[in-house]
Symmetry: C2
Subunit: 205 residues, 2 copies
């Protein structure tokens, strides 16, 4: 088994945190250099045809891509502690929370960064800076909604830590590249939650 990652990219970090929360050790990591376009090389595409990281090479040689699908596979093999829900009902509500973060917070924040940050130009061509800037506002709308959620409940999906917290944490940390810090936007509950997650051992991956 082997996990292909890219240092500083938020999606590989989600899988790395997920693995750390499970207490799994011993999966070798292989760094892929995105700025050198290594993910688009023929060798890497033989494993990940759409040139995406993270990618998990399974013991039987098959390669699984897509952050959340990799986590589903890991959860099936190492069910404890459960991070995605045990019953169909629990899984559905955690998936809802995770997707709200992915689609309305992580995606617009990533689009803002990819279309406005000079350092991301090798990855996003063509860049549309005006579009990117407009997406920061959409991400902020979701951050405000998330702050209100975290005023009433301790974790993103409700009463317990889940994959949705990992997705949100990796988004907030990546969002520093767009000069986003919850406290600066008056989002005290989001900042307090972020600081609580940052103390977990898994946040140090």
């Amino acid at each position: 088994m082997r996990l292909y990652i890219a240092p500083r990219a938020p999606n590989p970090r989600r899988v790395q945190m997920f693995i750390a929360e499970k207490g799994i050790t011993g999966i070798p990591e292989v760094a892929v250099d995105l700025n050198a376009q290594e993910h688009r090389s023929e060798a890497f595409r033989a494993r990940s045809p759409l040139a995406k990281v993270p990618a998990l090479e399974l013991p039987d040689g098959r390669v699984l891509t897509e952050t959340r699908a990799i986590c589903t596979w890991i959860e099936g093999r190492w069910p404890e502690p459960d991070l995605m829900g045990r019953t169909g009902e629990e899984r559905a509500f955690i998936e809802m929370a995770d997707r709200r973060i992915e689609w309305y917070f992580m995606l617009p924040m990533a689009q803002c960064i990819r279309h406005t940050h000079p350092g991301l130009a090798p990855l996003e061509q063509p860049q549309f800076p005006d579009f990117g800037a407009s997406q920061r506002d959409k991400a902020l709308d979701t951050a405000r909604w998330l702050d209100a959620e975290l005023q009433r409940q301790p974790w993103v999906a409700g009463e317990r830590f889940s994959i949705a917290d990992i997705t949100a944490f990796c988004t907030v940390e990546f969002a520093r590249l767009a000069r986003f810090k919850p406290a600066d936007e008056g989002l005290g509950a989001l900042q307090a939650w972020r600081d609580r997650v940052a103390e977990r051992a898994s946040a140090r991956v």
Copy 2:
């Protein structure tokens, strides 16, 4: 139980097809008028705080949003025929296929349409037509990859019909608004697969 939908929008249609494939009947549908901004009304936001359709009001009054999370809940309650995989491993590979379609085919195609189609201006503000046009090429890249997949395997996730076929079919149908037709792009396997799915009873929802 009650399903909030929006006629002609691809995401509610995914849930409607999923329900039809299961043979479930009797869930009342409530149409939400997106052009009249009904999804942003206070009444609808009380159910779906991020103003998204589809939304499924559960028997206990809670409301579940996010297409795939709604499908996860339905699959838990009506497991047959299974469309998302039975084991953790099967679920992971089907989720991978579904997400590849969602993120690299449906998303860029929807962004193309939302940023370039005058009829979508009420839903996407501000529109960035150049950005939108650039996303059509990204969607086409994925369509070409999908065509190659469908030359080797009958269904999007492999040997059997799954939620990934529903996501891909609803994308191809919606993509007509961007004047996309697989046959016109020389994507014969994708066109043949589309025509096969169109014959299923669930495609008539």
